[in-house]
């Protein structure tokens, strides 16, 4: 009975982090951190600068080796995977880095197409079309595909990075600061895009963000990180009622209040 329940929970849990310890040199970043992300939800990590949000993300996507603990993605332990298994896993997720990390010597269309060329057996013609489609999906104008990353504005750069992250139609999408450095209009475009992707493709999305508007509009659940540990997990409504001083400061600062009022007006 118990085992069956656990099994069921496992199939719905996309990311399961338990007892994670990470360290940069001598600085301890996370101590005994645990969290779980369910299938189809938009899960967001928030917290002050330097609290280890991005480090947690890097540990989950296998860019950083934790000291101890367990990270399971799609039910598979990611620590100590061999190359073949790691590749299989990496094909199922897409990552959008904070600063885009587009390949500077390739055009936007080539950046997106490269992922498809590497991992699928589609014909070059269809790859070009699918790449153009992804670029259009992220709200970039059609002529952006032929441009080099250096010719793009900050917002377009973000969108192009997102287009590359969704090139393979991943089941799981990691977004590191998806709306940072975007004008409000582009940022709300990204809100909508993130939600659309989840609704239509059944994506699970894990993001790191400071954008309170984005949190109120799209996040299903939010985890607040502080001092290497999770202070609270819940919906924005639940967290905004929290009595914890750090969480209160975070959501009830002047910006937090404005964003919340905005969100309530919408409802």
């Amino acid at each position: 009975m118990n085992a069956a329940m656990e099994q069921m929970q496992n199939t719905n849990t996309v990311i399961d982090v338990r007892g994670l310890h990470t360290r940069y040199g001598k600085t301890v970043v996370h101590e005994n951190l645990s969290l779980a992300v369910q299938k189809g939800e938009i899960f967001s990590l928030v917290g002050g600068s330097g609290c280890g949000k991005s480090t947690l993300l890097r540990a989950i996507i296998m860019l950083l080796q934790p000291v101890s603990g367990s990270i399971r993605v799609f039910g598979q332990e990611v620590i100590g995977l061999n190359d073949e298994q790691a590749l299989q896993l990496r094909r199922r997720w897409g990552v959008m880095f904070e600063r885009g990390a587009l390949f500077s010597s390739l055009t936007v269309a080539e950046n997106v197409g490269m992922v498809l060329r590497e991992h699928t057996r589609l014909s070059p013609g269809l790859i070009d079309e699918v790449a153009a489609l992804k670029i259009a999906l992220t709200g970039l104008p059609a002529d952006a595909g032929a441009k080099y990353p250096s010719e793009l504005s900050g917002g377009m750069h973000k969108r192009a990075a997102l287009a590359r992250a969704i090139a393979l139609d991943p089941e799981l999408l990691f977004l590191d600061e998806p709306t940072a450095a975007l004008d409000p209009l582009s940022a709300s475009g990204i809100d909508e895009l993130v939600r659309n992707l989840r609704d239509m493709l059944g994506l699970t999305i894990m993001m790191v963000t400071h954008d309170l508007d984005l949190l109120w509009r799209v996040a299903d659940r939010v985890a607040v990180l502080e001092g290497g540990n999770i202070l609270g997990v819940g919906t924005m409504e639940e967290l905004s009622k929290s009595e914890h001083p750090v969480i209160r400061d975070y959501f009830y600062g002047p910006r937090g209040r404005a964003a919340r009022e905005q969100a309530w007006k919408k409802k």
């Binding site: 269809l126 699918v130 259009a136 080099y148 990353p149 250096s150």
Partner: protein
């Protein structure tokens, strides 16, 4: 990959209804991994003759944007042929996805324009002309910045200069010493055979001394430093250009020339002559060791002969070249760094160019020196 993971499209020949509508059926996973085979089949698919088509897509097990695009494209192509196509049985969420896809406007692929031979030659020429003027402008700017330093010596960044002397000079001692030593060995070895035939063993000191001091050690040192430090300058400044640090310097009101170029150039102008002297010494030691083992010329005989054969002016002709080479290497490296565009690729290209150009210009300058010294009969 199992059967239901591959996308398929069937034409149901038996199911043509009374109204003449041909029924088609989609099955399997219409996903980026599943549609590869289907895409090839669709290319030379024999479509039925009827005008009305009905695509039953209720059996699609999975649909992603790539699959949706393929379906959308196929429907579009059929409609272009003047047929009427309806897609039925799509799950609600897949319907939304199809709507999203059809809302996207794609640019038709543009044909790349071909440039003729003449045009590309012209472009190439203009490019190199621009390059040359750029280099001249850069040298000019550096000279102006240097003037400012001479007027206001308090602006000279001694700390940076010393640091550069350490990295470009002191840390290059082992490699310069070793290579120069080997060069001395090689010259003595090659010369030994010839000199022995004439019984002129003692002239090995003249040969090694003059060759090393006048030509080889300045040239060898310059080439090593161009490879070691010139490339490093180009890569450093180029990366700073990519990350907009150069622009940041300008906005803070610090001239990049003054902070980045001049300290490097001054450091090299000081370090390269010193390195050359060191190369002279190790080269001659190499020659001396070879002379004793192959020609039985002992160390003290060699040194006495060396003193007679090599005049001060021979030594100085070698050393005088070094500061000029140093300026060439530093300017070529820094100039190439500033030419970097905004991609990682161009950092690599410009770094390569910096070394090629520095070595080319150093050898050219060496040839000019030879001509000038010949005129002056030094």
């Amino acid at each position: 990959m199992t059967a239901d993971q591959i996308a398929k499209l069937f034409i149901q020949t038996d199911a043509t209804s009374a109204s003449g509508i041909v029924k088609l059926r989609c099955t399997g996973a219409w996903t980026v991994q599943g549609i590869a085979q289907l895409e090839r089949q669709l290319k030379d698919m024999a479509w039925p003759a009827g005008v009305g088509l009905e695509i039953d897509s209720s059996a699609i097990t999975a649909l992603d944007t790539s699959g949706a695009w393929l379906l959308h494209r196929t429907v579009g192509a059929l409609e272009q042929q003047g047929r009427s196509v309806s897609v039925i049985g799509l799950r609600a969420e897949y319907g939304l996805l199809m709507d999203l896809i059809s809302a996207c406007e794609l640019l038709p692929p543009s044909a790349q324009s071909d440039t003729g031979l003449l045009a590309s030659i012209g472009k190439q020429f203009l490019g190199s002309l621009e390059n040359m003027f750029g280099m001249l402008a850069f040298v000019g700017e550096s000279a102006i910045a240097m003037m400012r330093l001479i007027v206001q010596p308090s602006r000279i960044r001694w700390k940076t200069i010393l640091l550069n002397i350490q990295t470009a000079g002191f840390e290059a001692l082992p490699i310069v010493g070793l290579l120069s030593f080997l060069m001395g060995v090689v010259i003595a070895y090659q010369g030994a055979d010839q000199l022995q035939r004439f019984g002129a063993n003692i002239y090995i000191a003249d040969m090694v001394g003059l060759a090393m001091l006048r030509e080889l050690s300045p040239l060898l040192t310059a080439i090593i430093v161009a490879g070691r430090s010139g490339s490093a300058y180009a890569a450093q400044i180029g990366t700073m250009k990519v990350t907009e640090e150069i622009d940041a310097l300008r906005t803070i009101g610090i001239s990049p020339q003054e902070l980045l170029v001049l300290p490097k150039m001054l450091a090299l102008i000081i370090a390269l002559p010193l390195l050359t002297v060191f190369a002279d010494v190790t080269g001659i030691i190499g020659g001396m060791i070879m002379a004793r083992s192959k020609l039985d010329v002992s160390f003290d005989v060699f040194i006495v002969r060396l003193g007679d054969a090599v005049s001060l002016s021979s030594f100085l002709t070698g050393i005088v070249k070094a500061p000029v080479f140093a300026a060439i290497i530093a300017l070529a490296g820094c100039f190439r760094g500033f030419q970097v565009g905004s991609s990682a690729d161009s950092v690599g290209r410009q770094t390569t160019l910096s070394v090629v150009q520095a070595i080319f210009l150093v050898i050219l300058a060496d040839a000019l020196f030879s001509v000038v010294f010949n005129w002056l009969s030094i």
